[in-house]
Symmetry: C2
Subunit: 160 residues, 2 copies
Amino acid sequence: MNRISCTLVSVLLALAVVKASQASEPAGQQVTAAGMQSSAVGPADFFTGRVRVDPLYSANQNINASGAYVTFEPGARSAWHTHPEGQYLVVVAGVGRTQEWGKPVQEIKAGDVVWCPPGVKHWHGAASNVAMTHLAVTGTKEGKNVQWMEKVSDEQYASR
Amino acid sequence: MNRISCTLVSVLLALAVVKASQASEPAGQQVTAAGMQSSAVGPADFFTGRVRVDPLYSANQNINASGAYVTFEPGARSAWHTHPEGQYLVVVAGVGRTQEWGKPVQEIKAGDVVWCPPGVKHWHGAASNVAMTHLAVTGTKEGKNVQWMEKVSDEQYASR
């Protein structure tokens, strides 16, 4: 083995040792400071109107659901969709609407908590004249947490 | 069988049919309105100072973690404890403190997110002069989500 090969092997071995020690170190508390997770815009394929997603925490090997704030400007809403492991919504501000396929639109307000079971087709969004923010706690199954469907039409949104 | 027995049997059968139809009916969205879940006081065995727990949602067969707001008045804090499946804390208001056993006390502020892995001994609470509210997302393992330990002394609370 020449000197360059020896050096390369040494570097690779050192990296392997560092990686192994990182993996075996007992994990402690981790604080993610405010401002470290960027806001995202709800994609136009899955939302109508202006929607902002503020990620909070990810599903991990212990807790099988992620958490995020979702803020809908007046009139904004998700497309129809289902969740493979269900979803809790905690309305933290404003007034909104949600609807399960085939059932009437329901008004939801700050402090309300919604449970949507797996496979139930539904949508959620703001009231027509008031914004709404909810914490979305979304169960994850094999890396997936939502199945998107068609947009909510203006007629569907306005029905009561 | 006399008439009273017949009537009783009929009523029981009718109830059984109603129960069976409820059990087989596909579950839909469930809205728990604001005000339907009572606030609770953090028990003196597990907390120092005044602490309020506002339950939001339970762990269920799909999502393995519960959610609650916990509000600590200035100086209030939990006892030392561990979680069998870990816990996320999302600080929603105020300023607080958290500490992992053997490490320094850390200040936490609104917008910060803390991950505490399973089995890590720690405590959390308010700053000495400012209240703190966090969303606590607590993993559940075989029906248990916390192992309580000794109280946090004034010296431990004040150390930095």
